[in-house]
């Protein structure tokens, strides 16, 4: 009995140690802090309305802010650049059930990704329906039983809790899919299937995923994927062949690529849902990178106060010095004004 106890405690100690080490290794060290302020009272929510989990946030070329959030129903709201409410889009729309992502393309079309209906929808800049990818499971088939056992085979045009959408400069559509598939899918601009990386099965090899949770495409057509449960970011080429992976940016919740000739990547090591003990110590910050993976700096930390983050779920970085973040657990959207970069500390790695 004694030896058994000792054995258990040694294992526990070892495991604890390994765990702590893994956490330390998960993020880059000596990264310069980028100072920032959170614009106070950024969004003016209409009287009588309440923002829910602000899982999706995006801006268009006019600076209008789109918030796709989970309140009593999943809803999509548009605000102007001063945060004044403009209108609701998609009220009662069949493809809105459980929000996950909203993104605005180069033509200002608004795209929603809904993990409750398994659909990705393209709306015009005015908010009119244009195209849908995927299909909501038909109600006539009855309530969908809780998943049990391995994921069924992935299908070309059907998603399983998709998470995000992006486009390359040619307008091809890329979807991260998702919680019960583990793949990235490429469609042409008319929604026709072209290729996929990964499958319904999770994996941790190159080009395999374990909960691809966020996705954006850079100006070279490379696809950045937040590979959440693998604690990494993966970069795929335009044909979805694996190129690079980054394991020094933490968990890999969501990614944003700024537009323009000099693009930056923002990657969030969001604190986990539920705020487990100790998790605030090594999660919560957002990294700013060059496209080649060089880390320029980081900012933010887990906190329930304004200026801190409560599970950042999506970032908009149209202006790389004004980051709009949507958070799950604080039901809010913050606009962060980043200060000019600090004098480069040469030990930044």
């Amino acid at each position: 009995m004694k030896s058994f106890l000792a054995c258990v405690s040694i294992i526990a100690l070892l495991l604890g140690g390994i765990h702590a080490l893994a956490q330390q290794k998960a993020t880059a060290q000596n990264v310069p802090e980028i100072s920032y302020t959170s614009a106070p009272n950024f969004l003016k929510i209409p009287a009588g309305e309440t923002l829910g989990e602000a899982v999706g946030v995006a801006t268009n070329s006019k600076g209008h802010v789109f918030v796709y959030h989970r309140s009593a129903n999943t809803r999509l709201w548009e605000f102007d650049k001063n945060g004044v409410f403009v209108k609701e889009i998609g009220k009662g729309y069949y493809g809105f059930e459980f929000a996950h992502s909203v993104r605005v393309d180069a033509q200002d079309n608004i795209w929603t990704v809904d993990e409750g209906t398994n659909t990705v929808t393209k709306f015009s800049p005015e908010g009119r329906f244009l195209m849908v990818l995927g299909r909501r499971p038909p109600a006539v088939d009855g309530a969908v039983a809780t998943a049990n056992g391995p994921n069924p085979p992935a299908q070309k045009y059907i998603f399983c809790r998709p998470t995000d959408v992006g486009w390359d400069p040619q307008g091809n559509i890329f979807v991260s899919d998702g919680y019960c598939n583990n793949r990235v899918v490429k469609f042409d601009k008319n929604g026709r299937f072209l290729a996929q990386a990964g499958s319904e099965k999770s994996g941790n090899g190159p080009g395999e995923f374990n909960l691809p949770h966020g996705l954006q495409v850079d100006g070279q057509g490379n696809v950045w994927v937040a590979d959440r449960s693998n604690n990494r970011y993966q970069v795929l080429d335009n044909n979805l062949k694996p190129k690079t992976m980054y394991t020094n940016l933490g968990v890999g919740w969501t990614v944003c690529v700024s537009p323009g000739p000099h693009q930056y990547v923002f990657a969030s090591n969001s604190n986990p849902n539920g705020n487990g003990p100790g998790t605030w110590d090594n999660t919560g910050e957002i990294y700013k990178l060059e496209l080649d993976g060089t880390i320029l700096g980081k900012f933010g930390h887990a906190s329930k106060e304004l200026g801190g983050f409560q599970v950042v779920h999506m970032m908009d970085c149209r202006n790389p010095n004004e980051i709009v973040v949507g958070e799950i657990e604080s039901w809010r959207v913050q606009k962060l004004i980043l200060q000019p970069a600090p004098a480069k500390t040469s030990n930044a790695r």
Binding site: N73, K87, E88, G90, K91, G92, Y93, Y94, G95, F96, E97, G127, R128, F129, M131, V132, R135, R136, P138, A139, V140, D141, G142, A143, A145, T146, A147, N148, G149, P150, N151, P152, P153, A154, Q155, K156, Y157, I158, C160, N190, G191, R192, F193
Partner: protein, 352 residues
């Protein structure tokens, strides 16, 4: 072996002939009118179950939209909402909504307009075939909504992710209770024919007052049997055309359900329509399955005897492409309204 080879050859030749026949169907040139419907800013079409025009050219769209909701009762679960019926003028301008909060609007399947401009609704989930007057008030109901819905226990997965199909719990079979009905049509005398449909595999006939007369068909592949009945149409002589989607054929019956003939060269018939007037044509959509836009999708135009006039369209998301057509209105032979499940839209087509 010697005997076997010629047989094989013959088979090959036959297969070749078959393929040639398919390829020889002429393509019908057509256009899709841009923005055929103008919706108010706060209304979004969902999957279009049905589209139909009345004698004034007004357009009715029965669509799966909003949120199908299960609420938890004391010992059972109840289903609400999920479909809406909209009326537009002949130019496609929104007029109004019909049947808000209706008990029967759960899973839009079809809308048809009879010669008196009454509006008929078929709902696949509530199991109702509803006759509404031209202003939208309920005149007659066939079928009854199951009181509650069964929540299936979790089942092991991994055997394919396709649709589950099958019967709805609590839905009926024999007479005037339907199980996932799909379509309705009338003969010149006003008799009502219901395609019943996916949960059942039969055609039910009622008189104009809704009295059940008879029913024919069950699951099978022989004449008069069905894999599923996805759509129905009746010609001026009272013959009944049933889209046997499960067996990839259209079966033709006389007015009393006696099998006459079948057409097997139009893929999976999913939506049917017969033009009015003395020289009638039949349109049939070989709709793609909702989970794939790389197969099928074309619509066939044929004579009532089954000879093909031509075909048009293919599966896809662009204008002039189709995403699982579930409804065709052909009140005007060369100006069709097409309702799509996969693309959540109505297209207005002009055939040349």
């Amino acid at each position: 072996m010697k005997r076997f080879l010629p047989m094989l050859l013959a088979t090959t030749i036959l297969a070749g002939l078959h393929a040639t026949a398919q390829n020889a169907v002429p393509e019908i040139a057509f256009d899709s009118v841009a923005n055929p419907l103008t919706l108010p800013g706060d209304i979004y079409l969902g999957e279009v179950g049905g589209v139909a025009a009345n004698s004034k050219g007004e357009i009715f769209v029965y669509t799966r939209t909003g949120h199908p909701t299960v609420s938890l009762g004391g010992s059972r679960a109840f289903v609400h909402g999920g479909s809406r019926l909209f009326q537009f003028d002949r130019a496609g301008k929104f007029i109004h909504e019909i049947g808000q909060e209706s008990y029967g609007f759960l899973f839009a399947q079809q809308v048809r307009i009879d010669p008196q401009d009454n509006i008929w609704i078929v709902d696949q989930m509530s199991g109702y075939v509803m006759k509404l007057d031209p202003t939208g008030h309920v005149l007659m109901l066939l079928g009854r909504k199951p009181e509650a819905v069964t929540i299936p226990a979790p089942a092991p997965r991994g055997g394919g992710g396709g649709g589950r199909g099958g019967a709805l719990p609590g839905a009926g079979n024999a007479s005037d209770v339907f199980n996932r009905p799909t379509d309705v049509a009338w003969d010149a005398a006003g008799n009502i024919f219901v395609a019943d449909g996916i949960g059942n595999t039969r055609v039910a006939k009622f008189n104009s007052k809704g009295v059940f007369i008879k029913s024919w068909g069950s699951t099978g592949t022989g004449p008069g049997l069905f894999g599923s009945v996805l759509a129905i149409a009746v010609d001026a002589q009272g013959n009944v055309y049933a889209a046997d989607g499960g067996n990839k054929r259209i079966q033709v019956f006389d007015n009393n359900g006696t099998f006459k003939t079948q057409y097997t060269n139009v893929g999976t018939p999913t939506a049917l329509c017969i033009t009015p007037g003395p020289n009638q044509f039949l349109y049939s959509s070989n709709s793609n399955p909702p989970e794939d836009i790389d197969v099928a999708g074309e619509i066939y135009k044929m004579k009532l005897d089954g000879s093909l006039v031509g075909k048009f369209g293919r599966a896809g998301k662009l204008p002039k492409e189709f995403g699982t057509v579930n409804s065709i209105d052909c009140r005007s032979e060369n100006n069709l309204l097409v309702g799509e499940v996969g693309n959540m839209r109505v297209q207005k087509l002009t055939l040349h």
